[in-house]
Amino acid sequence: MKDVATLESSHSASPGHRATGGFSWIALWTLYTLTFRQHMHGRRWIVMGVLFLLPPGLAVLIRATAPDAPSIVTEFLLAFLLIPQALLPLIALVYASGIIQDEQEDQTLTYLLIRPIPRWAIYVVKLLATLTTTVLLTTIFTVLMYAAIYLGSEASFNTIVRRCSIAIAIHGLAVVAYCCLFGLIGLYTKRALIAGILYTAVIEGLLANLPFGLRFVTIIYYARIGAYRSMDFIFTRNGRDHNVAAETWQIDVKKDPELLDHPQLLTCVIVLAGASLVFAVIGALMCARREFHVKTPEGS
């Protein structure tokens, strides 16, 4: 039997192969691309794509069946009601709640745990790849939707581009926040789907619509205020101005025209980005300390 002394001398480092320390950018990049490929292969993105083609499809349908409906109203209903309240949480639940859970259930997590990648880095890199996927999909379909709403209308190209860019930014921030939150929930519980739905329905759905206090803990509130401060939602009908956003979101512009009771745009961005970072860091720390039972998954 060879003793270990002999073995130690045979730990000859192949160049670039046996780097000291636990960090390998190659490994991290490979994990990033692997996760991105996992998200994009198969039927999942097709289903998501169909779902995200809904707003452009609706826009076309609305323009065909109700041609007198102001474009701003259509834009508001689709871009700032349907997408942030229904589609963004759904896409975040699909992609982010299973960042680690899917690998654990498929029993492929072992292949990642036995590689020279820190556990916290496994989570962070997979989360980054998930954010890339979701933001990319959201951007593409937001652009398609704006094209469907405004092409051939009287609005100038610059206005359309500006409004579309703002919507992409708002949606991007919101979906990042949702992904970071649901990724953390996915680490914490196997029933991430139910927890995510309850969060979306109760907290985002109910609390966000309250005209006071508790809506400050919701992601959608900051997305709404950010949107409201970045663009106008006023249309004129028969000589009178209507602010569709203020009416729907119960923002009392008569009492508080400057919205002093609500955060500024920069605050909204900082809160959303900051919350995302906090959720991501907590998730990374959880992942670093946790065991993952792959052969006999927890609860089975």
Binding site: M1, H17, G22, I26, A27, I114
Partner: protein, 322 residues
């Protein structure tokens, strides 16, 4: 003769173990996976045996840093493994579960594993090609893993464990579901790895294959270490079960009368069908040494002599079923 088997390491204490468990316990809620396990696994090929639920997979997961011991410490090549990503470059694991990224081809999977191990592109390509060739999967590399047979999947799993050229390999049930040809090929690969200086710990139920791979075994039962060392040494230490030696002879009844006069013979059973005897003795070496004299003195022509329990299966049966 001691009735208790020694629990500490077999082998010289100067030799540093490749894998060391020091009073390790691991429990999952109320279920104990391994119980105060202290072993020192030397370099070379070692077999890890035990019935279902013995704690073999738990041991392997502890050794590869996937689980954190509830008590005690686990060291591989002198270092703790939990959250030690640098160690993962020196360790390879062929897991038991039949899980892959099914949508990938064999090449894609091994190449990705190489890259996940930190190899640059060119090195990863070389390593993937070399490893796939070593396990006999190069010609199937462009097929989707989904379409592989069980044996091909096992080879691919072994390939991902080898691709980054680790020093220590942990193989969890590598022969499960394989046909005899695949099994023979895998065993040959493991033997070669041992000969190249790698340390390999093979967990298996297939006792006779582990026996042909290595005489060094670790036997677990119900989370505890039952025996450790060479099969023969362990067998000798099992006082309770005398050795069974079969003698085939035409005048077997006369032979029976003769051996019964020896004081180390504890029992004789006549095997009418085989025209032989099964002798129970606690001193097999002494018994063997007398056989030629028996033949010379009494003219008894012994056609065949063998022991039917000087093997791993017998050791396993005696120790696990007691």
């Amino acid at each position: 003769m001691h009735s208790e088997l020694p629990r500490e390491v077999a082998g010289s204490p100067e030799v540093k173990p490749v894998v060391e468990f020091h009073k390790v316990s691991k429990w999952y809620g109320n279920v104990i996976g391994v119980n105060k396990l202290s072993i020192r696994i030397p370099a070379g090929v070692t077999g890890l045996l035990g019935p279902n639920g013995a704690g073999k997979s738990t041991l392997l997961q502890l050794a590869t840093g996937q689980l954190f011991p509830s008590q005690g410490s686990v060291r591989v090549l002198g270092q703790e493994v939990w959250n030690n990503t640098a160690m993962n470059r020196l360790i390879g694991l062929c897991p038991e579960q039949d899980a892959f990224y099914e949508w990938m081809t064999g090449w894609d999977f091994i190449y990705t594993c190489a890259r996940l191990g930190g190899l640059p592109r060119a090195d990863a390509k070389d390593a993937a090609a070399r490893t796939l060739d070593a396990v006999g999967m190069f010609k199937h590399k462009d097929r989707s893993v989904r379409g592989y047979s069980k044996g091909m999947r096992q080879r691919t799993k072994l390939a991902q464990a080898l691709v980054h050229d680790p020093e220590v390999l942990f193989l969890d049930e590598p022969f499960t579901g394989t046909d005899p040809v695949a099994r023979r090929d895998l065993m040959e690969i493991i033997r070669k790895l041992g000969a190249e200086g790698k340390s390999v710990l093979v967990s298996s139920h297939v006792l006779h294959e582990v026996h042909t791979l290595t005489p060094n075994i670790i036997l677990l039962n119900r989370g505890r270490l039952v025996a450790e060392g060479q099969v023969r040494e362990i067998r000798d230490l099992i006082d309770k079960h005398p050795h069974h030696i079969v003698l085939v002879c035409d005048e077997y009844r006369k032979l029976a009368g003769r051996v019964l006069t020896w004081d180390d013979v504890e029992g004789v059973r006549v095997l009418n069908r085989d025209k032989g005897l099964m002798v129970e003795t606690r001193s097999p070496d002494k018994f063997y040494s007398r056989l030629p004299q028996l033949s010379l003195e009494d003219g008894l022509s012994i056609k065949e002599v063998y022991s039917d329990d000087d093997n791993l299966e017998a050791v396993f049966k005696y120790l696990v079923n007691k």
